[in-house]
């Protein structure tokens, strides 16, 4: 009997430890001007390492309008190895969607995305010095190509990434091949989003964090966000988050402004609670401000997420 009691207490201890706080770091749009920004970026990584996050999420744009060659990708991989913990990377437009520009090397964007997949997504694990296992859409679903869409959980909070980029999400209306790629990728993203929220609902996850590259709320009105190349993703986030009901954090980069707000919120007057109030958006800093954001997660609070800038002088 005492052993059973000890076992029960131990299990309780394990369960209560699940409710402890943790932090993760989000950053993106780093080192656009390599000569100026790379030393700042490397010092920032040291600062991030000292903060001992559970993991870091890089939401893409690992360079500016830059040559998109294999050598540059290898340099990024080298930089990623400086993170002494797990690093989850979401591709940005600068490293594939925009690589068709002459200044970027006139590459085929789809070919560059394939190269990124080889370099960073060949294993179902994160990057960084301490890779953590990830579930990849490419390995468990019919959407086998999309190895960059991943999910994992930390202390009862579900995290997932989607390859949604800036630059019109790759919808180049003068290029039928690009259009087809974008359409197929959006279908895969929608399937991944729906399935991830299904898991969050069915298994009572305490919160959901979505990481993409693109800023999707630049229209003149909230309704404009539902149109255009990001419209379907915006709408799906809204539907899924409302049905889920718990705290949802959308993390992205692309426009380089540090913003924390609730872009979906819809007032219902002063007597009713607003709709979509459970969705918070974090847009991370970006070049020329090479900075990160430390996100604290406390699963014992209803708001779950707290935000603090993280950078060097």
């Amino acid at each position: 009997m005492p052993r059973i009691l000890t076992l029960a207490i131990c299990l309780l201890c394990a369960a209560s430890s699940q409710a402890e706080r943790f932090t993760f770091v989000a950053l993106g749009d780093t080192a656009y001007d390599a000569a100026r920004d790379q030393p700042i970026y490397e010092a920032l990584i040291e600062t991030i390492n000292r903060s001992e996050p559970a993991f870091t999420i890089h939401v893409g744009d690992v360079w500016g309008l830059n040559h998109c060659g294999n050598a540059e990708i290898e340099e990024v991989a080298e930089t990623f190895r400086r993170f002494d913990h797990s690093l989850v990377y979401v591709p940005g437009d600068n490293e594939w969607t925009d690589c068709h520009y002459r200044l970027a090397g006139a590459f085929d964007p789809a070919e560059r995305l394939a190269r990124l997949r080889e370099a960073f997504f060949s294993e179902p694990a994160s990057l960084g010095a301490k890779p953590m296992p990830l579930i990849s859409q490419g390995r468990i679903s019919p959407y086998a190509t999309y190895t960059e869409n991943v999910r994992w959980q930390e202390h009862g909070v579900l995290f997932f990434t989607m390859n949604v980029t800036g630059s019109g999400n790759g919808y180049r209306y003068d290029d039928s091949k690009a259009l087809l790629e974008a359409q197929e990728r959006n279908a895969a993203n929608v399937a991944w989003l729906r399935d991830s929220f299904r898991i969050a609902r069915d298994n009572a996850y305490k919160g959901v964090v979505i990481a993409v590259h693109a800023e999707m709320f630049r229209g003149d009105s909230a309704q404009e966000s539902f149109r255009g190349p990001h419209g379907i993703i915006v709408r799906e986030i809204q539907i899924a988050s409302e049905r889920y009901g718990g705290p949802v954090l959308l993390v992205h980069g692309d426009y380089h402004e540090f913003i924390v707000d609730r872009p979906f919120i819809e007032s219902q007057g002063e007597l009713e609670l607003p709709r979509y109030a459970n969705i918070t958006r974090l847009e991370v800093f970006g070049a020329s401000e090479v900075r990160a954001v430390q996100v604290s997660v406390d699963t014992d609070t209803p708001w779950l997420f707290g935000f603090e800038p993280l950078y060097n002088e």
Binding site: R3, T6, L7, C10, L11, C13, A14, I135, Q137, I140, S141, P142, R151, W152, Q153, L158, A191, R194, D195, R198, I199, D202, N203, R235, E236, I239, R243
Partner: protein
């Protein structure tokens, strides 16, 4: 000893989690609505929304177009009416139009009647809407599933059509 027990307990707890829910993929196309009071579930296209209207009926609708919708409500059984009459009434709702097809069906073991009706809306002579209604006979009430496709082209809306026949009773 206690430490080893803890380690063992944690290992056991982890083994229970071997079937990682994150590793299972489902292609989610439908959302389920459950009516606790009447003991049935009903599925509708995932991207549709749902709300109650002023008459207390549940409306499921395509948020993007507003053209397609399914309205679900119950009517108390009236001994002077039969299933066919109720279905025809629900389909026409006193609008101009004509029944284009009707038949007896069965939904999840319950007798039901299906009516397809082409409304002619008063807003314009050429504006029409296709209505497909399925009424299910239950012990004390009729359960009405009223589907509307305002585009009236290329057949009845597939999402609405699927939703109409999706009812499942406890």
């Amino acid at each position: 000893m206690k430490l080893w027990l803890c380690v063992g307990a944690l290992a056991f707890a982890r083994s229970l989690c071997a079937d990682d829910p994150l590793a299972e993929f489902q292609d989610v196309q439908w959302e389920t609505y459950r009516d606790e009071a009447r003991g049935f579930t009903f599925r509708y296209p995932y991207h549709w929304s749902s709300r109650s209207n002023s008459q207390g009926q549940r409306v499921f609708y395509d948020f993007n177009s507003y053209d397609s919708r399914v309205t679900v409500y119950a009517r108390s059984r009236d001994p002077e009416k039969d299933l066919v009459a109720v279905a025809r009434e629900a389909a026409s709702q006193e609008w101009e139009g004509s029944i284009v097809s009707e038949k007896n069906i069965e939904l999840d073991g319950s007798p039901a009647y299906e009516v397809e009706f082409h409304w002619v809306l008063p807003a314009g002579e050429r504006l029409t809407a296709v209505v497909r209604v399925v009424v299910v006979e239950r012990e004390e009430e009729w359960l009405v599933f009223h589907g509307l496709d305002g585009r009236a082209s290329d057949g009845f809306d597939k999402g609405a059509a699927n939703a109409l026949y999706s009812v499942s009773f406890d």
